[in-house]
Symmetry: C2
Subunit: 109 residues, 2 copies
């Protein structure tokens, strides 16, 4: 992962994970694999887990421990009402930023 991407993910990775959880519950390992499939080649495992713990502590997600057929039990996270509100706010913030950047790229102002 390039250093630019690493810095750019700060603040957005959180939104990405919330967006994933908004469609279905998921656990850390699964989310990491999903991200890697989509081209986020080197997202560190530890990163996603740490993020999930932060989300839990802030009360944006609910957690359930589910036994796995292969390996230790999974911690399955799901978005709750507060998390959904926060995700909407995230999209607003993202839209604002994305609009300004598109303007900058096109107009060369």
């Amino acid at each position: 992962m390039g250093k630019q991407m690493t810095e750019m993910l700060k603040g957005t990775l959180e939104g990405i994970v919330l967006a994933i959880l908004s469609s279905r519950p998921a656990y850390g390992y699964e989310i990491t694999a999903w991200l890697r499939d989509r081209g986020f080649s080197d997202i560190a495992e530890g990163t996603v887990y740490a993020l999930l713990i932060r989300l839990e502590q802030r009360g944006l997600v609910d957690v359930e421990k589910v036994p796995s057929e292969k390996g230790p039990p999974r911690k399955v996270y799901s978005l709750n009402a507060k998390g959904r509100d926060y995700l909407e706010e995230f999209w607003r913030t993202w839209s604002f930023l994305a609009e300004r950047l598109e303007q900058l790229r096109e107009r060369r102002t």
Copy 2:
């Protein structure tokens, strides 16, 4: 400024400033004012100055000290060849991220 925006700016503010400098040389105070005009309501002065110093140290911009009619001399920054390369890389990184996020927003995958 919301906390979300603060975190999201990490990594992108640098690109924004480089993009501004790609169209014309500018100095810190001017850039801060420009950003505030565009809705980045509370960008702290210190933030932009610190960023410009980092850009200079990394050799992405050239600097020229220009006397001002009103106040202390301005440090006018302009993008050099290395900075232009870096800006292009920034746009590639940004595009990648923006595409994934748009997919997430629309498809609700």
